[in-house]
Symmetry: C2
Subunit: 238 residues, 2 copies
DNA sequence: TTAGTTAGATTAACCGGTTAGTTAAAATGT
DNA sequence: ACATTTTAACTAACCGGTTAATCTAACTAA
């Protein structure tokens, strides 16, 4: 079960996968160029087909890699030792931070949702079962537990999740438009940090039965989880 | 300023544009096939190039059409005679309904956001100025007014918008995944109607200073705006 | 008459995928 | 210990299909 052997081959495969994630997230399946992936991975184009059956298999592999990592990180947070309510806050904040530091991942997922909805996608079923179902079950169970113990308000867990995660997705999705329409740039460190704080505080004030406790936990969580560095900076090509 | 002349030419142009919107929203700029657009519009391929310079110009035109319509509809709601708070609720509900009945539009916008963020897109600047800026200014002004009159809670209008619209976008975006992960389908009429109600009621309870008033207005708005028919049904191609 | 439209052939570029071959290192034989 | 064979990793060059876009010539409706 060794996943990351230090052999040269595995390093190469990994380079290809990373390059693929980037290319696909920026251009979609159809728009991505295999030659671009190859050169970004500093590899000959034919080598892509040595490691992966075809373009779509590479795309699927990229998707699974991303989904696996996202779900794995999330589950680690969901299994923390603190109270259910605090874990929900941490979960939401982690989701925000993932958008911030790896928003290529999020683009990839979003594009795949569109692709799947229009009825072309085998990958989705697989990553749903392997990655997202375990995560989702845990998240909903957690909210359930929090409601049971009286910590969280008694609302449909699903609806709570939409509120918690939707605002994050929308913030990053609309950022380019907001930058053009207003004079400030939501992706600049200042506004970003403000929004990050606001999102968690808002959540703390709305999902807890004891608002005061919610506010305090929000502050705790924000203090415990620092703003991550932007791991994969955007390259402005055009 | 006659926009929709009844001449044959304008009808044809319109058919092309509609077909383009659909094709681009389902497959993206790169994935869309001009031949598919032509045949969907029941038109010869050469005619596309009679009306539009090239594929990208057609794409841009499709985007402008969508943006214009969205912003126009939204502004009509924002300029209604009722109180600012009620108009915000109507605005949010309209946004939900647009996702429901024209979610091709939303896909198109989402894809373009990704495209723009990675630095390829002239269209965005144009539609931001012409369509979204007027809409956005009005929406924010409205919230401001509502806060001024004491109807709405004194929170950053922008943050309120993220909460109001984000959950909607995320609901539809995640629907395919949720369908696979849970046993219920968010896009079925039942869950859909439930979510629609929940979203507006939630908003009513969180943005108004007088929660009771918010709840009442939410009911009013829900009663006044019926669930629209799914105007552009999905065709499952694969 | 003329703007709108079709049919279909054609071109040129692009791009996914293949092929045939190279290199390096590990495995094997002696 | 050294020669050899095998295997895995990798590359340069190319092929064939696809696709956007053009052109010509004719047809049709207002």
């Amino acid at each position: 079960m060794r996943k990351n052997q230090h052999t040269r081959a595995d390093q190469t495969r990994d380079r290809i996968l990373r390059a693929a994630i980037r290319e696909f997230s920026e251009h979609g399946l159809a728009g991505a160029r295999t030659s671009a992936i190859a050169s970004a991975a500093r590899v000959n184009k034919a080598l892509l087909y040595y490691y992966f059956r075809d373009k779509e298999a590479l795309y699927t592999a990229a998707l699974e890699e991303v989904a696996g990592k996202v779900a794995g990180d999330a589950i680690a947070v969901l299994d923390l030792g603190c109270s259910p309510g605090e874990r929900v806050l941490r979960f939401a904040l982690q989701h925000f931070d993932r958008n911030l530091s790896h928003h290529g991942f999020q683009s990839l997922m979003q594009q795949e949702m569109v692709r799947f909805r229009t009825g072309q996608s085998h990958a989705m079923r697989i990553i749903a079962k392997n990655a997202f179902e375990p995560m989702w079950d845990r998240a909903l169970g957690l909210v359930h537990e929090g409601i049971g113990s009286g910590e969280l308000c008694n609302v449909d867990p699903m609806q709570m999740m939409y509120a918690a995660l939707g605002a994050n997705v929308f913030y990053f999705l609309s950022a380019p438009m907001v930058r053009l329409v207003t004079s400030s740039d939501p992706l600049e460190p200042g506004p970003m940090a403000e929004r990050r704080t606001a999102a968690i505080e808002y959540l703390g004030q709305t999902i807890f039965t004891d608002r005061r406790r919610g506010a305090r936990l929000a502050r705790t969580v924000l203090a415990a989880m620092p703003i991550p560095a932007n791991a994969i900076p955007e390259r402005k090509t055009a």
